[in-house]
Symmetry: C2
Subunit: 547 residues, 2 copies
């Protein structure tokens, strides 16, 4: 009965001729002459807009029929990704090549990431602080492999206050060097250890191939830095923090990352060991979503960071560093999104529930809006992030599509018949069509609240479940190089025993495009034979193409 009020289905709306597509901002040409290296639009259908859009003269009038559509994911994964970022208003290009403006909806996801991690960092004994972003160039040169790894991507300040500087300043690409410069002044005795800090900051890496959220010239991150009195503590810390990231990925972002150790070739410039969480994106490429480094004494030796131990002997400290960045947002988009747009796990969604009131006649409006408002209040006071979309300027059908595209986990529809029956209709973002739609949920606060919370939990697990199935069906166990190549050619991840040389690892990369993503912590039982050499192997490695 209530369904008679419903608008046309998504499919018919998308194919309707009245849905015109305004040029997504991300497709606009840059208005600045720095070279543009974000991937250009690949879909020919819209490419004419790329060159015709003009910024200062854009007189298009918003009409009720405007609706943004998304390139199908299966058709062009990259175009789909950029469409979502543009249309869901997650980010936009900055005026300088490779830079990104994080818009409020995208930034709210970052705030959800920050809120969770900040609590975990403090629970595990870390304090926030702030190090300056300008680092004397000479610092970068002090740790041999660090300078080798970072010098090609540095941005340098050479002029300050109108004058050429005596020494160039590096805009931090990461802070190990300046952190050690300060640690050296603060650490004297074993009583000053462990020293465990974190900062939320912007960092700059002069990347040549950039992509919003995934690889930008400037990005936001947190970087933890710790110093310890012995190597065991440092190792435990590095492992503890990759575990914090793993839990975050599973429990909040619903991303079934694989945690493990990087190969020597892929280890951070300056670290003894790098731990990583690797996520499988919807195109089955791997995304390194967080790393934790055991730095050993590399930086403490380079910077003379010493302490007096309990026996009165001077020793260099053992250190770690670990980071998660705005890249994680890219991971969330590419893990859960579908052809309708973004799909956000409830625990990190800026809006968990959207309420769309529906009325035809003017005399129905007040009753519907009142009911919608009171439903909003009920959910809000239960701590649920709820948005009531009560604008007159858009049809309910437009709103359905819009909020689906924005990835809101649950939609509540309230029409005149719902008001009469004191009930609502609830639709799940993760279950398309009628299957995801339930009618007649009571508006009674305790019932509604319990139902909504229950559904949000269900969606959270369901997203993790779907991503896990997808991941598992795309990892192939291989026992030879031929099998590895076949798996990579199919776009899958290959997992197989590996004890071959760095040169062999390089050869795999050159011949297949895949790299060792990690030696997973979870290893299969039994004896193993290296897929490349046939020699005994201690571990399996995971190979994949990656972002």
């Amino acid at each position: 009965m209530v369904s008679s009020l419903r608008l046309p289905s998504l499919t018919s709306l998308f194919s309707s001729p009245y849905l015109r597509r305004p040029p997504p901002l991300l497709r606009r040409p840059h208005h600045h002459h720095h070279k543009l290296s974000f991937p250009p639009p690949l879909t020919t259908a819209f490419s004419s807009q790329t060159t015709s859009a003009s910024t200062t003269e854009n007189p298009k009038k918003q009409t009720n029929q405007d609706q943004k559509v998304i390139t199908p994911r299966s058709q062009d994964f990259n175009a789909w990704f950029l469409d979502i970022i543009a249309n869901a208003e997650l980010a936009d290009y900055g005026p300088v090549r490779g830079t990104m403006v994080i818009r409020p909806y995208g930034y709210a996801i970052w705030e959800a990431i920050q809120d969770y991690l900040n609590v975990k960092f403090k629970e595990t004994g870390h304090s926030n602080m702030y190090f300056p972003q300008f680092i004397p160039f000479s610092f970068i040169e002090k740790e041999a492999s660090h300078v080798e790894g970072f010098s090609p991507e540095l941005a340098l300040v050479t002029i300050g206050g109108g004058k050429e500087l005596e020494e160039k300043l590096v805009v931090r690409p990461t802070s190990e060097t300046i952190v050690n410069h300060m640690f050296t002044q603060w650490i004297h005795s074993y009583r000053d250890l462990p020293l465990m800090v974190n900062q939320w900051a912007n960092v700059t890496r002069w990347e040549m191939r950039t992509k919003p959220f995934v690889r930008t010239l400037e990005f936001l991150w947190q970087e933890g830095h710790t110093a310890h009195a012995n190597p065991e503590e440092a190792e435990n810390e590095a492992l503890q923090m990759i575990d914090v990231y793993t839990k975050f990925a599973y429990e909040q972002a619903a991303i079934p990352v694989i945690a493990g150790r990087k190969s020597k070739a892929e280890t951070f410039a300056g670290a003894d060991r790098t731990y990583t969480i690797e996520a499988m994106m919807g195109d089955r490429k791997a995304l390194q979503a967080g790393t934790s480094h055991n730095l050993g004494q590399n930086f403490s030796r380079a910077f003379g960071t010493q302490f007096m131990d309990e026996n009165g002997e001077r020793q260099h400290v053992w250190q770690t560093s670990w980071a998660v960045s705005t890249r994680f947002i890219g991971g969330i988009i590419m893990t859960h999104g579908d052809d309708s747009g973004l799909m956000l796990p409830p625990k990190i969604a800026p809006i968990q529930v959207v309420i769309v009131p529906i009325w035809k006649k003017e005399d129905e409006k007040t009753g519907v809006l009142n009911a919608a408002s009171s439903v909003k209040k009920v959910l809000q006071s239960a701590g649920i992030k709820v948005k009531l979309d009560d604008t007159d300027q858009r049809t309910p059908g437009w709103k359905f599509n819009f909020w689906e595209m924005k990835g809101v986990p649950l939609r509540i529809e309230i029409g005149p018949r719902d008001v009469s029956s004191a009930s609502v209709v609830i639709s799940r973002r993760d279950v398309p069509g009628k299957q995801g739609k339930v009618f007649g949920i009571s508006m009674e606060p305790s019932i509604l609240e319990a139902y909504v919370k229950d559904k949000l939990d269900e969606i959270q697990s369901s997203l993790l479940g779907m991503a896990t199935s997808f991941r598992d069906s795309n990892i192939v166990d291989v026992s030879s190089y031929d099998e590895l190549k076949a798996a990579i050619t199919l776009g899958k991840w290959a997992r197989g025993p590996w004890s071959a040389s760095d040169a062999d690892e390089k050869r795999v990369k050159e011949e297949t495009g895949a790299t060792i993503r990690c030696f997973p912590f979870e290893q299969p039982q039994g004896t193993k034979t290296c897929l490349m050499t046939g020699s005994p192997a201690e571990e399996v490695a995971i190979f994949a193409k990656s972002y």
Copy 2:
């Protein structure tokens, strides 16, 4: 009875010969050859340490007798300020001239500022987002007075990824230009307005004379940016935000700022009107603690930021911007601190209550520590920020001084007799000596919790009260230039009617060192005669020397 357990009074401890002063880190020479322009230490007693300290070799052993002391405020305000920052571990110098490392205790104050303001910004309809920090040099040149105001203090990136850039990039000194570049792309119709955003970010200004927290080459701030469909809305927004800052200053930081409008000469480069909150520091110099600008259409005209109004006509948007920075922490130190160190208002104190357990004999220890732990739990679960200092390595007397120096509002002492009587001793940071100390407060959770909360509230008001009295006793109403000069010579603020020219304002600055801090919103009644010209005046202005 319980008092027999107490340690020597603060006064006797400070004069005791066993209190040696380790070299404060802030006094250390920079280990980098950029010119150091933070004020050098002024107190001769410690100046030898400035040149002798060595970073990589610092074998001094911490002993139980080490205690940091603070230069008396009355003796040398600047040395006192730097001593507090170093000894309370609020900040340290970065390796690059004029930069500052914000240490965990200082950063926690910044987090308290963020937590409060972030909620208020959201309540007033603003969303957080993030703009890139690199701004094409040409942007800065677009708004005439903006380029004039900011070009002398720019840091420029000229090399990226090993190559000379085609166009120099400005490391943002403020974001109006890049904000307008983006707003121009996002705003089309009146329906897109108001657009109200904020970002928490680092900014860089190549200042020549720097001072930790007050004026540093890089600092942290929030900058709000809004665009509106008419000038009234923009004006209301600018006023609303200076009001948010004013409430924050009074209610959280206990700083009785004077809110008002800047003179034309002191208005932000690019604004039509600048509103400000001006705080009187302990040395009676003024600190501009927050500003809110009505930008009019200056930036929208320079960047072509237009919208179609309801009548289909194109108009330029009206804008505001507003900011509070880590300078506010300097304001808190210099408003409330005393000879014993920092004094923090409870509402922004990272630690509101410190518990110091006291025992002489080993068999007393367990009982005392158990009681201290349970008191900690009681207060913690009541939402109070509490620290139990149970280290063996320091005496209770050392701890008393240390936590007083760190500005913790309340101290709870628990000794064996307190355990027997199930009570504690509570001392207020803001009331020195016996007057601030109360014995026999019951450990019974509800009583203790209520007592502590009550005292914290009392301290919060008391700090505001003290600062207000100090402020009011140091503002002189003047009606002639001679009176103004006399007031300024005495180190006070002068308030008097002003309708004179910009040239006269400049003359006052040159002859007295004082500037117009603001035309306060709160104006005295009655007719006014300009103190300089004798012509009628509409408003009084406040003149003062400032940071």
